[in-house]
Structures are given as structure tokens and as C-alpha cells.
């Protein structure tokens, strides 16, 4: 594997000591954001990355991290102010979620994130894209795509946990664009990505929002295999 030579170099030292305060809303660039990073999320990342983690633990802790990313991603959905009356008759100035979001998972690893989304939004519509790479040319090819009919008018949570090169995301975004979805309405929910992939995607689609837990020179591999137990 060529990535084996890459050394984690540019990471500042304090990254490795326990955090006093969680880091919230850390924008890497305008459209690349980390979920709030706490020692807790770092523990989850560690377990997911670790070699000796059992499959049961891998799924359990990946699900927890996915849930966090989903919750954070939902904050990009639209809302309007709403005032409600509480049971004791007082008013509460709240807000109401506005319909108009949907999820799109990239088969297969992206599907691991569907449960997390479903747990937060009981009846959200979820589309799917199947992209396969040609073994020889490494060219990504869309095999299957199914979206809600009005996907063009929705905000899309694009689900894909590991992004090493960005090729798949670029391809998926193109498919969505072909169905009328604007890149600024796409939020990529991601667990781990590489700086290379981030650059690649933001160069191609500067308007697309990337939400991730870690940008690191090496992203974990075989996520889908480990999650679904087909390794």
C-alpha cells in the first residue's frame, strides 16, 4: 500500500493531549467542518482505527460516532421560528424543522450510516447510489442511482464514512447535480478523510459542505467490510 509511507507530520503537538474544552465548529476551510471534537470523539476514533478492535466493538463505536455526525449534519437543515405553549401554560420561543431534507447513501459503506440518520429522523427519505471502480483503470462508474423524485428541491445529506481520494464523492455529486441538486445543498457526512481528498472535492465543488470527524493523512480502510462483516 502506498499510503503506508505517509507519516502524520503536520499535526500540532497539543492534538495528542487530553482536551480541556471541546473544539466546536472548527472550520478547516469555508465548507469543510469538523463536528465538535472532544476527548470522547477521539476515543471513538481510536477504537475504530485500532487494529485489534473486535467487530462487535467496531460496529458499536462506529454507530456512536456516526450518530454524532448525523446530529451535527442535521443542524444544516432549514428551520423557522415557532412559539409553543408548554404544559404549564407558559410560552417557549422555539423553532420548527422545515421539511425539505433527504439522505443519500453511497453503497455500500455509506449504508452503514443510514441507521444513524433513521434514528434521528424517523421518516426521512433516503436515496442510494452505487458506484464501482474499474479494477484496471481505477475509474469510478455509477452503476445504480435512485433518489426521491423531488430531490432537486431538497437538502441532501450525502453519506460516505471514509474518503481517501475523493473520487467517489466527486462522482456521486455529479450524479446528484445531473438530478438537479445544487452542490451548495449537499452536505457530506463523513467519519474520516484525507487532506488530499478534501482538496480534491473542494476543488471540484467549492460549494459542497464536508462534515467530518478527522482530516488525517491516513484514513482507515475496509470500513464497509468490517462493519458488515464480509472481510
Amino acid at each position: 500500500m502506498p499510503v503506508a509511507e505517509v507519516k502524520p507530520d503536520v499535526v500540532p503537538q497539543e492534538e495528542h493531549s487530553p482536551l480541556k474544552e471541546p473544539k466546536r465548529d472548527v472550520p478547516i476551510s469555508n465548507n469543510v467542518k469538523l463536528i465538535p471534537i472532544t476527548n470522547q470523539t477521539r476515543e471513538l476514533q481510536t477504537i475504530i482505527r485500532e487494529k485489534n478492535t473486535s467487530r462487535g466493538d467496531f460496529v458499536f463505536y462506529a454507530d456512536r460516532l456516526i450518530r454524532m455526525v448525523v446530529e451535527e449534519g442535521l443542524n444544516h437543515f432549514p428551520y423557522t421560528p415557532q412559539t409553543v405553549i408548554t404544559p404549564i401554560g407558559a410560552t417557549y420561543e422555539g423553532l420548527r424543522f422545515v421539511k425539505g431534507g433527504c439522505g443519500v447513501s453511497i453503497v455500500r459503506s455509506g449504508e452503514a450510516m443510514e441507521k444513524g440518520l433513521r434514528d434521528c429522523c424517523r421518516s426521512i427519505r433516503i436515496g442510494k447510489i452505487l458506484i464501482q471502480s474499474n479494477e484496471d483503470t481505477h475509474e469510478a462508474k455509477v452503476v445504480y442511482a435512485k433518489f426521491p423524485e423531488d430531490v432537486a428541491s431538497r437538502r441532501v445529506l450525502l453519506m460516505y464514512p471514509i474518503m481517501s481520494t475523493g473520487n467517489t464523492i466527486i462522482k456521486a455529486t455529479r450524479v446528484l447535480r445531473d438530478h438537479g441538486v445544487k452542490a451548495e445543498n449537499i452536505i457530506l457526512l463523513n467519519l474520516f478523510c484525507t487532506p488530499k481528498a478534501v482538496k480534491c472535492v473542494t476543488d471540484a465543488f467549492p460549494q459542497l459542505t464536508i462534515l467530518t470527524t478527522e482530516v488525517h493523512p491516513v484514513a482507515p480502510n475496509h470500513f464497509g467490510q468490517k462493519y458488515f462483516g464480509t472481510d
Partner: protein
């Protein structure tokens, strides 16, 4: 006297139970906390399973179940709790030091009778009666044989385990739970089970030599000596030993002459000078008992127990404490709040959205625990510097009923988490919280505790739960209180009383209404979640 009259034994704040299970429910005063089980000694799993079967909790005497009765009885400006345990600490969370009455006197002088009469006349809900008889030393074989021949001196100070006694009384005075040995007068050994006792508003401590040690005298707030004529005492003693304990006259008399009388003259009678008052004729002396009761009442009145309303009033307009951590208010958090606060939200959605919020709350609370740095090898055989929880074992403790709704969220993120439960109910007549039931892991002091309650208004129930945990020796800074919604006065009260307890919530509301509901609030969370609310809130 209301519920105690005619019943035996007297009201006392003690319980005997297994596995730290403490059931505060029950019928009338005299049965609260009075039940008995064997303490399980953990052996092999199969053995303990068998024990579970055979050693179920049994009541030593039947509880008259007065379910329909009101939870309090008011007499002469006093309130008697007939079910749960009322607060035993003040608004600052500090235990109110119990009033300790020492009753000394010769054998068969009527100490227990006086103690019972005081309990009846006192009319306070929580009285612990501690007897020196529980603290006889365990006899070895020789001594046991001597005892059989009436040749062991049970009336000498050496016969008592004063160290354990002093330690027990000290802990009771601090409001902590104690294990009182159960002494068997046939085998002259301590039984395997214990009697659990709690410090109460009043502790009555009686025994023939209870004035014999300076440390004991120092802990007593009032000392009474029962001075009954020696002829009467001997007569009573003979009657009791012969007719109740099946002993013979000669043996009893020889023991009396040999040990009881000399010990009285040498060790007991001289301690009379320590007494604040001497009660001649024992239990018949109603004037003396009345005097004692009057004095205790005056002392108790000065300490006061109006907790909840006191809590609602204090600490306004102060900055929020540093031990408070509020979940950042994102649009999702506010949107979820809008759903669950709205009185028109159906239960299906109410449950769904409160569960989502609980998950966020628990994840946030976990992130505040200590972590340590570790280095792991990744799947690609690279070195990765990561984090690992340094918090140790975690135990969730939910405050029933609403706190129980959060257990699932905790289990969803922590594998193998242990769960304890505390039932605290608000007494509808006094508005005060009362402790009814608690079940915690044996080694609760070794865990980091996530104390869970859905809503915190005045903080009275949470404070009681924290107090319970502290009384079980959990360090204060090992407690995290997790709550979906809190009123600012509740936050202030808890943080003021227990500054080291970490408080995590998703929102803090400014006010409490006159029914102690948070305003604007969320209504009665438990009722809405479990669907037990009255037909309509309006």
C-alpha cells in the same frame, strides 16, 4: 401518639436487608425500614443464586398496609411522615446533626421503656434506637463455657466492643449508613446478618455502660440516668430471666451477686454524675419524660426541615456556577426542545425527541470525564495517537420515575454499565421529597456515578439522591448529574451544596412556578413519557 401506639418494636430508622437494597416503603411509621434478611455473602455464582431463592426479604412483623392513608399526619404543628424518609440534611446539603439522647441505668432499670416512651411522646418520624446489647464482644470457647455456668461477667466494660460502638455512633451522627451487628445471646456470637441503620432526627442510645466512655459522652446531646431502686431491678431481672429466658433461680442469683451488683456499684452508679438529669422510677416517671421531650422539641425546632421552599427561595440572580455544563444550543437541540416542551405534542413524538435529546446529553456528559492518551496500532499497521477513557467503572443511578427514562440512552453508549435506582417521591401534602427505595451496587463508592433525572426544578430530589450517594461513601467529585432541563434555582442550590458535583443539562430555565414546576418548562416529564398524566393540563 398516632401510628406507633401499641406496636412493638418502636419506630426506628433501621433496616436489615441484602444487597444494599433499602425499601423505604411500607405502611405506617412503625414498619418503615423494619424488615429483615440475611446478608448475602458472594461465593460461587450458583451458590448466590440459591441464596437469592432462600434469602428473600422477609418482614419480621407484618406491615399493616395503609395504602389509602395520607402520606403525612399532622399533629400539634408537627408533621409525621408515614412512608418515605424525609430530608435529613439542610438546604446546603449538609446533614443536620441528629440529636443524641443517651440513656444509662442499671440492668432492668427500665431504660428501654423510657426510650420507647420518649419515642412515642416525641412524635418525630425518624428515630434511631441503638442498644448497647448489640455490641457485646464475641466470646471464645472458654468464655462461652463460663457464660453457660453464669461465670462470665456481662456487666463489665470489657464485655463490650467500645471501638465499634464509638465508630457506629459517630457515623450515625454524621448521617451515614451503619451496619449494626446482631448479637445472639445463645451462641454469644454475632450473626452473619447486619442491621442497617441510618442517622435520624433523633438517636436514642441506651445501655448499662453507655456513660462509661468519654468519646460516647462527648457525642451525646442529652444524658439521662434511670435510677430505679435496686430491689425492683432485681425483682424484674429474676422475673425476666426465669420466666422469659428459662433460667434457674440459683444461677440468676449467683450471677447477680457475683457480677451484676458489683459492676453496678463499681462501673454504672458512678457514671450518674455525667447525667444531665436523673430519672427515678424509670418509665413510670411521666414528668421526667415530659421534660426530656420538651427539651428535644425545642432543639429540633431550631434546626428546621422546610427544605423545598427554602431551596426555591435562595440563590437568585447569581452567576451560573462553574460546575454547570450546558449542551451547546444548536438548531437541532432547540428544535427538539420545541417538540418536547409543546403541550400539544403527542406522546409518540414526545418520547422520540426526548430520547434523541437524552442521547446528546449522555454523549456530552461522557465527553467531560477524564481521558488519557494512548498509542495504538491501526489496521494499516501505523501508529496512531489516540484517547482512552480514564474514568474507570461507570454506574448510572436513576431517580425514579422520570430518571429511569434515561437509562436506555446510557446503555446505548456504554456497554456493561451498571444501573442503580433511587425512588424519591414528592410528598403531595408537604411538597418535600421523600426517599422510598434504593438499590445500588455493593461497591458503589468505586464507581463514577451518572445520576440521572429528567428534570430538576428546586433540586430537592437531586440533592437527596446526591446525599444518599455521599452517605454511601461515593466521593463528591465522582458524581455527574445529568438532566434534560433544569431551573436556574435548582442549579444554584445543587452547585452551592455540592460544588464538586458536575452538572450537565441541555437547557436552564429561569423560573419555578408556585407548584414547583419549571417555567416555561416541560410539564411533568414522567407523566408525559409514561402516559400517566391527568386527562388535560388545562
Amino acid at each position: 401518639m398516632v401510628a406507633v401506639t401499641g406496636r412493638d418494636p418502636p419506630s426506628s430508622a433501621s433496616s436489615e436487608c441484602s444487597e444494599n437494597s433499602e425499601d423505604f416503603g411500607g405502611g405506617t411509621i412503625d414498619v418503615q425500614l423494619e424488615f429483615e434478611t440475611k446478608v448475602e455473602t458472594p461465593t460461587s455464582p450458583s451458590a448466590s443464586r440459591n441464596q437469592n431463592k432462600t434469602h428473600r426479604r422477609e418482614r419480621t412483623f407484618s406491615a399493616s398496609s395503609n395504602k389509602g392513608d395520607p402520606p403525612v399526619i399532622r399533629t400539634r404543628q408537627r408533621t409525621i411522615y408515614t412512608a418515605g424518609r424525609p430530608p435529613w440534611y439542610d438546604k446546603h446539603g449538609q446533614t443536620i446533626e441528629p440529636f443524641v439522647i443517651g440513656i444509662c441505668g442499671g440492668s432492668a432499670s427500665g431504660k428501654t421503656t423510657v426510650a420507647k416512651k420518649i419515642i412515642e411522646a416525641l412524635n418525630v418520624p425518624w428515630v434511631t434506637l441503638l442498644s448497647m446489647d448489640s455490641f457485646y464482644k464475641v466470646l471464645n470457647e472458654d468464655q462461652h463455657e463460663q457464660a453457660e455456668k453464669n461465670k462470665y461477667n456481662f456487666d463489665h466494660p470489657d464485655a463490650f466492643d467500645f471501638d465499634l460502638l464509638i465508630d457506629t455512633l459517630k457515623k450515625l451522627k454524621e448521617g451515614k449508613r451503619v451496619e449494626v451487628p446482631v448479637y445472639n445471646f445463645v451462641t454469644h456470637a454475632r450473626e452473619k446478618r447486619f442491621k442497617f441503620m441510618y442517622g435520624a432526627n433523633v438517636i436514642i442510645f441506651e445501655g448499662i455502660l453507655c456513660f462509661a466512655h468519654k468519646d460516647l459522652l462527648d457525642m451525646m446531646d442529652m444524658k439521662a440516668f434511670i435510677d430505679t431502686d435496686s430491689d425492683i431491678r432485681l425483682a424484674r431481672r429474676l422475673k425476666r430471666d426465669i420466666s422469659e429466658r428459662g433460667r434457674d433461680l440459683i444461677g440468676c442469683l449467683s450471677q447477680y451477686e457475683r457480677f451484676v451488683k458489683p459492676s453496678y456499684d463499681l462501673h454504672i452508679a458512678p457514671t450518674m454524675r455525667h447525667a444531665d438529669l436523673v430519672v427515678p422510677r424509670g418509665g413510670e416517671n411521666t414528668v421526667a419524660i415530659d421534660l426530656i421531650v420538651h427539651h428535644v422539641h425545642a432543639q429540633l425546632q431550631a434546626r428546621g426541615l422546610k427544605l423545598r421552599s427554602a431551596l426555591a427561595e435562595i440563590h437568585n440572580d447569581q452567576p451560573m456556577p462553574t460546575s454547570l455544563h450546558i449542551l451547546p444550543e444548536t438548531s437541532q437541540v432547540r428544535g427538539i426542545h420545541t417538540f418536547i416542551r409543546n403541550r400539544d405534542t403527542d406522546r409518540d413524538s414526545f418520547i422520540f425527541y426526548s430520547k434523541r435529546l437524552m442521547r446528546l446529553l449522555i454523549e456530552e456528559s461522557l465527553s467531560l470525564l477524564p481521558f488519557k492518551q494512548i498509542i495504538v496500532e491501526t489496521q494499516q499497521n501505523l501508529v496512531y495517537e489516540g484517547m482512552k477513557s480514564g474514568a474507570g467503572k461507570i454506574c448510572g443511578v436513576s431517580i425514579l420515575r422520570a430518571g429511569e427514562t434515561m437509562e436506555q440512552a446510557l446503555c446505548d453508549v456504554l456497554k456493561n454499565v451498571r444501573l442503580g435506582k433511587i425512588l424519591i417521591q414528592t410528598n403531595t401534602m408537604t411538597g418535600e421529597p421523600e426517599l422510598y427505595y434504593l438499590r445500588l451496587p455493593k461497591d458503589i463508592q468505586d464507581y463514577r456515578i451518572f445520576l440521572m433525572d429528567a428534570t430538576v426544578a428546586t433540586g430537592a430530589a437531586s440533592m437527596m439522591a446526591i446525599r444518599v450517594l455521599l452517605d454511601h461513601d461515593v466521593p463528591e467529585d465522582n458524581i455527574t448529574l445529568c438532566s434534560l432541563l433544569m431551573a436556574s434555582s435548582g442549579v444554584q442550590s445543587i452547585a452551592y451544596a455540592f460544588p464538586k458535583v458536575q452538572i450537565v443539562t441541555t437547557a436552564v430555565d429561569p423560573e419555578i412556578n408556585d407548584k414547583f414546576y419549571i417555567k416555561p418548562g416541560i410539564g411533568n416529564f414522567g407523566d408525559r413519557y409514561f402516559g400517566t398524566e391527568a386527562i388535560s393540563y388545562s
